[in-house]
């Protein structure tokens, strides 16, 4: 019992102790649970990692029996305490830690925990690895510790270390809980990392968005994005109606709203507002474009105007679609304000217009001939110069040449031709007949454009130089005119320098001075000296001084000696200005007006009459009062001069100036004659009008005499340019034609189809064997001259040409009066008016009798030649047949004796009983060899002769398979030989199978033969096409070859390049080959090199593909 009791006694305390320990243990566990729960709650609350760590350390110390808890993370590979709590915290001050396994410090619990190990140190007093920290730990009462790695997704990221002041705290179940704590910490750290990453990503996104926003703001273009509901393909009109519902604005940049002038909010609410912003005129176009783009879902752009306060604002929409799964689409687009660009475009257009105007002012046009598509381009000015409407006329090279005056057409044609053919530029002044029939001078130059040495384009400038030419001519003329006027002027004219010395005077002045003062005036002499009447001198000097002071004035004066020869003058004084503008002298023009007034009354009467009649008839009138030297023109005369009636006062001097220079002496003379003799004139003259037109006028005169003296002249004045031009043009072109045709013995005729008149040139009369005296050169004369058998045909061709059906280009015979027959080559051109009616027919006749005679002769010669060729060919054929028959029979007949020789020799040799010596047998063998060779030669010769004789029937066949057959034969004959054949398959040709087999037997046989001494013999055959009709075949071997210089001789019969003993053969094989190829219309050639081999190349026809 005692024992039992004692046992129980003992037992009890032990139970108690255990129980107490168990309870303590439970308490610790409970505390740890609580700490864990608290820590988890802290994690839920946590806003930051640092706070959380601190909380966890605090909670562990507060709720669990730990004196110190800290958490370290790795920073730059070194443990770094980021949170700590507990009364033993002093321990951490200056604590040396390391995670480096090479460092002894790194072998401590922290270092090892960072390497992933949970390190429990139950007894600090004994654990040897704690040596570095033991003493220090003892000071703070540390007895045990646990270091736990915190494993996140990144690996061990932190270490949680807990210290206790007692040993034996870290049992397995507690370690488990603490490890759970560290895994929760790890979870939290992962969460924090994710959060951090999310924040960073968000920040980056925000930054990006900000950049984009800035970008969109900074863009000069507006950006928009809109969404379009699925809609069936709408028309433009439908589109406008659904605009308000089918669209949704997803985005529109500020700039977009700024450009369109739309309010952000309002636009988003109602996308249809954009339509109101489009300029009404452009709206339909806009809608059509949008409708098309939305239907086809393709990128689209549109340019147009927006409604704007001030000037119109030009914009460009550009957008790209993306299809949405629901059938709708989103469109991302850019809106650009292109007003500036448009302005630049307009500026450019204005420049272009200016250029065109400048072109027009300079009357300078441009043209271009594009030879590649043979088109002619004219600039607008060229059209204007031609007086054509660019819209209704398209120029061609041929038609444009027709605008030149007939005499200039050959010139321009030749120049253009030369430019095209040789690249030689031209620079010509030519006369043009415009669409309205005006004749004007143009200056045409060219510039060729070369490409690859070929003329591809000719371009040039084209300028109306009528004015210029006229101006230059006028200038040149006016000097002469002035001189002429000066000389021939009625009144005295003279000029003096500042010293009163003569610088010029005219005959009239000379005469007047002689008459008045009896003085001979000379240039350079002192003018006043000649005025021997003192009163006259004084007046003259005063007037000259007045003029030299700068005044132009007219004074009436009476000069001359009283009672002697006194004249009443009206004197015009003018200062003479030097080029520098200084007065260098004075000019004086005196007019004798002695009898002026007398006719004035009569004049008025006539002018009235003239005015009335002239205007009606288009006839102008003029009147010259010789007494007053006054000239009167009717209104019509002014008009003819291109002047406003009354705008100018004509004088004899200025009126004469209107005449073309060459006509001035004529009119002057006529007027003079009329005045002197009273003989009227009736002239056709040329006048250059105030506008520079050169016109023909018909001027007639009558004289009014009084007391047997002509006092007045009057006449009619009529513009006859049109008639003259026609006459002139005809005459000129006739002349030119004469010149041109004379040199080539051409006769020219001109048939006015409307008037029915015909004109012949001299040569025509010659050709038709008549003279101007005998015939007039009429249409009937032409018909009469024609050889009767050719008349109907020639007339029919002529009529066809007039109808425009065929050019007149024919030959006919002319029977001259003396019976001579001439062959004529005739060409003609029909000229048409603007409506296309034939107006004139101009043609040339050329005597081609000699040519015809030669033609006939040649024809006869040819005929004879042909006959002879036929005969000769026939003879040759007969001879050839005979020859071949001969060759055949020769070789045949030769064979009989040969066979006898061969046969008996063989019989002798075969005779077993023969008593022949060894030598005898050898001789017999040689005889036999010779006969064998001779037989072979004859056989080959027969073949050769037969190739030419037998038919050659072409049919499609494969030369390669024919070659296979031939080679199989060669192989069978010498099976021991190893030859490498490389035959291209197939080689389709057109040929005669028998002949081609013969060809291959020879060529391949040669190749086979000549490679017999080569170790690795090789024979190749290949073909390549030569165009559509022929193929070239090469047969190549690497055998003995031949000297390349011998290549040509190879094909001659019996020509051998090798010794018979080396390579047996008759020397005819290649002749056969050549003949076979020749019969197929091909060629054969050989190339070779000694020791390297030979190649034979020949051509054969191939089957041409049939046309579909």
């Amino acid at each position: 019992m005692k024992g039992a009791r004692g046992y129980r006694r003992i037992q009890l305390p032990m139970v108690l102790i255990r129980r107490r320990a168990q309870e303590r243990e439970n308490t610790h566990l409970t505390h740890l649970y609580v700490a864990l729960v608290q820590a988890n709650q802290a994690m839920l609350r946590a806003t930051g990692e640092a706070d959380l760590f601190q909380d966890i350390c605090r909670i562990c110390v507060e709720f669990a029996p730990f004196g110190l808890v800290w958490l370290a993370v790795l920073k730059e590979g070194q443990p770094c305490i980021v949170a700590a709590a507990g009364p033993m915290q002093g321990y951490l001050d200056g604590l040396a830690l390391s995670a480096d396994p090479a460092d002894p410090l790194g072998q401590g619990p922290t270092g090892r925990a960072f390497r992933g190990e949970s390190v429990i140190c139950e007894n600090w007093a004994e654990d040897p690895q704690l040596a570095p920290w033991r003493e220090r730990a003892a000071r703070f009462g540390i007895r045990s510790s646990g270091s736990f790695p915190v494993r996140t997704q990144q690996g061990v990221e932190a270490v949680l270390t807990l210290y206790a002041d007692r040993a034996g705290i870290f049992q397995q179940d507690k370690i488990g809980l603490l490890e759970e704590l560290t895994s929760n910490i790890a979870f939290a750290m992962n969460q924090f990392r994710l959060e951090r990453q999310r924040l960073a990503a968000e920040a980056a996104m925000r930054e990006e968005q900000r950049i984009y926003q800035d970008l969109v703001k900074a863009l000069p273009a507006g950006i928009y994005r809109l969404r379009v509901q699925p809609v069936p393909a709408p028309t433009a009109a439908e589109w406008e109606s659904i605009y308000f519902t089918a669209y949704a604005i997803e985005f529109a940049s500020d700039r977009f709203c700024e450009i369109t002038g739309l309010d952000h909010g309002a636009f988003k609410a109602n996308p249809g507002l954009i339509l109101d912003r489009i300029h009404p005129e452009d709206r339909a176009d806009f809608s059509a474009r949008i409708a098309e783009a939305v239907t086809q879902l393709v990128p689209c752009w549109w340019e147009g105007r927006l409604v704007s306060e001030g000037s119109p604002c030009w914009v460009r929409f550009e957008s790209i679609p993306r299809r949405l799964p629901d059938g709708g689409s989103t469109w991302t687009g850019v809106l650009t304000d292109i007003t500036g660009r448009r302005r630049r475009d307009n500026a450019f257009r204005r420049m272009h217009d200016l250029l065109r105007q400048a072109e027009s002012i300079a009357k300078l046009g441009g043209w271009e001939i594009d030879l590649d598509n043979s088109t002619l381009y004219w600039s607008e000015e060229v059209f204007r110069i031609h007086e054509l409407d660019p819209a209704s006329y398209t120029p061609t090279v041929e038609s444009s040449i027709q605008f030149y005056a007939p005499e200039w057409r050959p010139v321009i044609t030749r120049a253009v031709q030369r430019a095209i053919e040789t690249g030689e530029n031209f620079d010509l002044d030519l006369e043009l007949l415009t669409a309205t029939g005006r004749r004007l001078w143009v200056h045409a130059t060219s510039e060729v454009v070369l490409q690859d040495g070929r003329v591809v384009k000719v371009l040039g400038a084209f300028r109306d130089i009528a004015q210029e030419r006229l101006a230059a001519e006028t200038l040149a003329k006016s000097h002469a005119i002035l001189a002429g006027i000066l000389e021939s002027a009625e009144g005295p004219i003279f000029s003096v320098d500042r010293d009163y010395r003569y610088t010029s005077f005219n005959k009239s002045h000379e005469a007047a001075m002689k008459a008045l003062y009896g003085r001979e005036v000379t240039l350079g002499s002192y003018m006043l000296d000649h005025q021997t009447v003192p009163a006259d001198r004084e007046i003259a000097k005063a007037n000259l001084d007045r003029a030299m002071a700068g005044e132009a004035f007219t004074e009436a004066a009476i000069y001359g000696e009283e009672g002697l020869s006194r004249s009443f003058f009206e004197v015009v004084h003018t200062p003479i200005l030097s080029a520098a503008g200084e007065i260098s002298g004075a000019a004086v023009f005196a007019l004798d007006i002695t009898q002026r007034r007398q006719a004035e009354a009569a004049l008025r009467l006539v002018t009235d009459l003239l005015r009335q009649t002239g205007h009606i008839a288009g006839v102008g009138g003029w009147e010259l009062d010789l007494e007053t030297q006054s000239l009167f023109w009717t209104e019509e005369t002014f008009r003819i001069h291109d002047l406003e009636p009354g705008a100018y006062s004509p004088t004899v001097a200025t009126a004469i100036q209107f005449y073309a220079q060459e006509w001035r002496p004529v009119i002057t003379q006529a007027v003079q004659t009329a005045i002197e003799t009273g003989r009227a004139f009736d002239l056709e003259l040329e006048v250059i009008t105030a506008k520079g037109r050169r016109i023909w006028v018909h001027a007639t005169s009558q004289v009014v005499t009084r007391d047997g003296r002509v006092v007045k002249m009057l006449g009619a004045f009529q513009d006859i340019s049109e008639r003259k031009w026609n006459e002139e043009a005809l005459r000129e072109s006739n002349q030119r034609l004469q010149l041109a045709t004379g040199s080539v013995h051409m006769a020219v005729w001109d048939w006015d189809l409307q008037a029915g008149t015909m004109t012949w040139d001299d040569r025509m009369f010659e050709l038709y064997g008549t003279t101007r005296l005998e015939t007039q050169g009429t249409v009937q004369d032409w018909k009469d001259g024609l050889y009767p058998g050719d008349l109907d045909r020639a007339m029919a061709e002529c009529e066809a040409a007039i109808r425009g059906e065929a050019p007149f280009d024919t030959e006919f015979r002319v029977r001259q009066r003396d019976g001579a027959i001439l062959w004529i080559k005739a060409d003609a051109t029909v000229l048409r008016d603007l409506e296309g009616h034939a107006v004139r027919m101009v043609g040339v006749n050329r005597d081609i009798t000699e040519l015809k005679r030669m033609e006939t002769e040649i024809r006869n010669l040819n005929r004879g030649l042909e006959r002879r060729v036929v005969q000769r060919t026939h003879q040759l054929e007969v001879a050839k047949d005979e020859l071949e028959a001969f060759a055949y029979s020769v070789s045949h007949d030769l064979r009989a004796p040969l066979r006898a020789i061969s046969g008996f020799t063989g019989a002798l040799l075969q005779d077993g009983n023969s008593s022949l010596s060894v030598e005898g047998v050898q001789h017999l063998q040689r005889i036999q060899g010779g006969t064998t060779r001779m037989a072979q030669i004859m056989e080959d010769l027969l073949k050769l002769s037969r190739i030419g004789r037998d038919d050659c029937t072409l049919m499609p066949l494969d030369l390669a398979s024919l070659a296979d057959q031939v080679l199989a034969g060669l192989r069978a004959a010498e099976p021991e030989r190893r030859v490498d054949f490389r035959i291209q398959h197939p080689i389709p040709v057109q040929g005669d199978p028998r002949l081609l087999r013969l060809l291959l037997e020879n060529l391949l046989g040669n190749a086979w033969k000549f490679t017999s001494r080569v170790a690795a013999a090789r024979i190749e055959m290949e073909a390549h096409s030569l165009g559509e009709a022929m193929v070239e075949i090469s047969i190549r071997d690497n055998g003995a070859g031949f000297p390349s210089a011998q290549a040509v001789k190879l094909f001659t019969p019996f020509h051998r390049l090798h010794k018979e003993s080396d390579y047996p053969g008759t020397g005819i094989g290649l002749a056969i080959a050549r003949r076979v190829v020749g019969r197929h219309g091909g060629h054969i050639r050989a190339e070779g090199e000694v020791g390297l081999g030979a190649v034979f190349q020949f051509t054969l026809p191939v089957l041409q593909e049939e046309l579909p």
Partner: protein, 147 residues
């Protein structure tokens, strides 16, 4: 057994001599009769003219016919032979130097049974005789009416 008789129609003495030698060399077991032109040959076959008195019982088993002969050519002889009901039954082998296609064609058209070319070498001629003997005189069966 009676040895068959071959009628050899050949004008060239050389060829004839060679033929004799070859037949001898070939040791061919047949008799042969020689005619030196077509007329002779026909006379012999039909026992007429110069041959009127010959033994009519001796009848050729084969005729070897040259083409180029004076007097009557081989082709003419062939025509005459084939015009006869009995002559038609005799095998005729043309043995000639000609290789003209026209000769070959006319020989067959005229009723020749074979066309052979005279070989150049004696040994070939011997082989030819052996072949003729083997084919025409050993293997070939004549028309029952051919005597």
């Amino acid at each position: 057994m009676k040895r068959p008789v071959v009628l050899l129609v050949e004008d060239s003495p050389d060829d004839l001599a060679l033929m004799r030698l070859a037949i001898e060399e070939a040791e061919a077991p047949f008799e042969f009769v020689v005619a030196t032109d077509g007329q002779q040959a026909l006379d012999w076959v039909f026992s007429r003219g110069a041959q009127a008195g010959r033994d009519g019982q001796v009848y050729p088993a084969l005729i070897l016919l040259d083409l180029n002969m004076p007097a009557m050519s081989g082709l003419e002889a062939l025509q005459a032979l084939r015009a006869d009901p009995l002559g038609r039954l005799i095998p005729v082998v043309v043995l000639t130097t000609s290789e003209m296609p026209s000769d070959i064609a006319r020989a067959y058209e005229g009723g020749a049974n074979a066309y052979l070319q005279k070989p150049m070498a004696f040994s070939d001629l011997v082989s030819l005789v052996e072949a003729i003997q083997a084919f025409w005189l050993s293997f070939n069966v004549l028309h029952p009416d051919a005597r």
